[in-house]
Amino acid sequence: MKKISISPPVAAVLLAVILFIFSGFLPNSFGTNTQVAISQAVNIIRLSVFLGIIAAGQTLVIISGGEGIDLSAGAVVTLSAILTWTIVLGKDERVLPALVVVLLVGALVGLINGAGIIFLKISPFVMTLGMSGVITGLVIIVNHGNAPGRLAPIMTRVIARPLFLGIPGAIIIYVFFAALMWIILERSTFGKNLFAIGVNRVTAKLSGVNVTRMVLATYALAGALAAFGGFMVVGNTQVVFLNLGAPFLFPSIAAVAVGGTLLSGGKGSYFGSMAGALVLILISSVLTTMQMIDAVRQMVLGATLLIIISIYGRQRGFRQ
């Protein structure tokens, strides 16, 4: 008997579509009005962009194995948003320099994470959790949470508003970003070596892969990607506050898991994480439409995660 097998990213996309159609039948929703439905869909996708970008770095470190995880992603998002805010000061010509600075700062934070993990043999969980605390503390000490600054008009125009044929700029950036991530993971030596160290670091080393350098590079890249996420988030929210990044942390891990990336490393895709981000945003939007209280939303989100991941676990069990 031929087993029907659906890959996790496809399953996540299907789930998102079903959820979306279901949400249409809720009271006060779009119902049969296609025009409203489309704009609602675009809006949901736009909202998933920010979580999706923050989940990109998370995807890389989780694929790299060795219990890889980046718990500093939320703090880096906040740090990067505040840096962008204070550097740009409302001037368009300062946007690019600000982007370069935040990417470098993010990469540096990631590099320190990687160094602690590979040289001091601190577990990624502890190392990145500690780093998260350090960054959050730094941000508080430096600006007490009220940073003087302002966004540049161009950021608002490109990130938060429709840019081309009514499509929000954020989505257009997301498409290019996804293509870049695909090339990094699937069409570069770095990506191939990343999967290799995720599966088996002894084999990787004995095949000439410099595991130390790969781990450093992966965490540095993950830090830079989280910083890019912070840059995008501030472009959307147009304000900064101390708790800006933290709510993205656990959803970014959940998105990777829902997207079918093995939490033990060595297997996964960025498309999966994008689909995962979409599912998470949709669930929370449906629950909001249904006017659920926050506690119920948390419960439903948690339960959905458990169900989805246990289904993936069963599939793997069948295959082996």
Partner: protein
């Protein structure tokens, strides 16, 4: 009290492989029986049947003339059979005392572990080896901090802590120094006097003659001879282990007849030292297939890993006349060196990744950016068909392949790099006969194309059939070099056991 153990016509199969077809031995109170055999003769299987680690498929074990059956090492222990295991059975994070009394801690009121009692008893046991270990070793240190010889002592004490009547020493002396061996042998004599029966397995010929009263020789899974040690010489014993020098016509195409002068040296090693290696020197010529023999764990693995840059070493290594010291395997790969490691799944494969990615892992940098996937598929398919790889598709996961085919993938990934020096760590282990034949042809073809190969194998026949020259390793050193007419199984086995010079002559 007296005791006796008898194993009669023991049969043990692992899957389709018969490890033991007719294993026999008898051991009685007050004697030491040496159990002797070459690689793969079945001696470790026979000890495992006796101590309950594996369950026999046929035959009978008799203890004091009564048939016994057990299905676990614990059951064997309850019958008074204690084993000092070759692969140590200690828990690294637990202390010496905890390890010795694991799962049978002395109890107070039947509930609480009696810590004081444990300490006293451990002290008494340690007293047996008093003076041969460091002062830093006592009952409360975790065993992970101990050097190999002290670990071995703890393992020995653990085995005798429940006062067994029959003691199996499986390579128990391998990591002990002379003083410690001497102490162990004093203890063995004491045990003999107490009426215990001892089975002694060792790869050191000298020790066998020093301590054993009788011997039993296994060959190809059968007991072929038993007798008193005083009636036999070292040379005769080796002959028993080898049997008639099997006329072995693998595919030996009489390499000697090529008649060309000596080829230049491609890889030279002088006084190589690691934790395991005690000064190894060798030279491999262009197009040479150099065999690396000896019993398991005599430093073959360390030698290959050191040459490949995976473990640090002291000593001088030259490749094509240039001195090198590779800090990382990637530097060795750059010098066209390749390694097929000994543990296929742990060191050679990326289990859940595709066959293609396994083949391409060291080569991706040759495919540009973005990677030219079509070309990588073409190259992968070419190597797969060269190696006659049985698979459906290059994108299938590598763990869908059989053992022999998975090994072909590991070799294939290096063929793509066209290595000048190929290091092989027991590559035919667990590979079917047909695939072995293909390997032999491949190795000979590579040599004729000028590749230099160092080929370690635990299969003596394979070495004898394939190699022009064999280095035999014994305890971290090269014990003997066999070449031309000197390549006989008897000499290989004698050198593997560290036999004295005259039995090698």
């Amino acid at each position: 009290m007296t005791t006796s153990l008898s194993a009669q016509n023991i049969v043990k199969r692992y899957g389709g492989v018969v490890a033991l077809s007719d294993g026999n031995l008898d051991v009685h109170s007050g004697e030491v029986l040496a159990l002797i055999g070459a690689n793969g003769s079945g001696k470790s299987t026979l000890t495992k049947v006796i101590n309950g680690v594996v369950v026999l498929d046929g035959g009978q074990l008799l203890l004091d003339d009564k048939p016994i059956n057990f299905d676990s090492p614990q059951a064997a222990k309850r019958m008074g059979i204690g084993t000092v295991f070759q692969e140590l059975s200690l828990v690294p994070k637990m202390t010496v005392a905890e390890n010795i009394w694991l799962a049978r801690e002395p109890l107070r009121s039947g509930i609480f572990v009696d810590a004081k009692e444990i300490k006293t008893r451990t002290k008494n046991l340690l007293h047996l080896f008093e003076g041969t270990y460091r002062a830093a070793m006592h009952s409360d240190v975790p065993v992970s901090t101990l050097p190999p010889d002290e670990l071995q002592i703890v393992e020995i004490l653990k085995a005798i802590s429940f006062n067994p009547n029959i003691i199996i020493l499986d390579e128990a002396t391998a990591s002990l120094d002379n003083r410690q061996v001497q102490r162990l042998f004093d203890l063995v004599r004491q045990w003999k006097a107490d009426g215990k029966a001892i089975i002694f397995v060792s790869h050191r010929m000298e020790e066998i003659f020093r301590i054993a009263d009788r011997y039993t020789v296994l060959r190809n899974g059968k007991t072929v001879d038993s007798g008193d040690m005083k009636d036999i010489t070292e040379k005769e014993l080796v002959n028993r282990m080898v049997g008639k020098d099997t006329v072995y016509s693998l595919s030996r195409t009489d390499h000697q007849e090529k008649g060309e002068g000596p080829k230049p040296v491609r890889l030279a090693v002088e006084n190589l030292q690691t934790r395991v290696l005690k000064g190894v020197g060798l030279a491999v010529h262009e197009g040479e297939l150099l065999g690396l023999g000896g019993l398991k764990g005599q430093g073959q693995r360390d030698l290959l890993l050191a040459l490949f840059g995976d473990i640090p070493y002291e000593g001088k290594v030259t490749v094509n006349g240039k001195e090198v010291n590779f800090p990382h395997p990637k530097n060795a790969i750059r010098e066209s060196i390749a390694l097929v490691p000994g543990d296929r799944s742990r060191e050679g494969l990326l289990s859940i990744r595709s066959i293609l990615e396994n083949l391409m892992l060291p080569s991706w940098t040759n495919y540009g950016f973005p990677l030219r996937m079509r070309r990588s598929y073409e190259d992968g398919n070419r190597v797969a068909s060269d190696l006659n790889l049985v698979m459906r598709n290059l994108s299938d996961p590598v763990n869908s392949l059989s053992g022999g085919n998975a090994q072909k993938v590991i070799i294939g990934k290096w063929l793509l790099k066209k290595p000048k020096i190929l290091l092989l760590d027991d590559p035919t282990k667990g590979v079917d006969v047909g695939t072995k034949g293909e390997f032999y042809r491949l190795l000979q073809q590579l040599c004729s194309e000028g590749t230099s190969i160092i080929f370690h194998s635990s299969d003596d026949e394979e070495l004898i059939g394939l190699c022009d020259r064999i280095l035999v390793m014994f305890e971290g050193k090269i014990r003997a070099e066999l070449a031309g007419a000197n390549i006989t199984k008897a000499k290989l086995v004698a050198a593997s056991m560290g036999a004295s010079e005259e039995s090698l002559a």
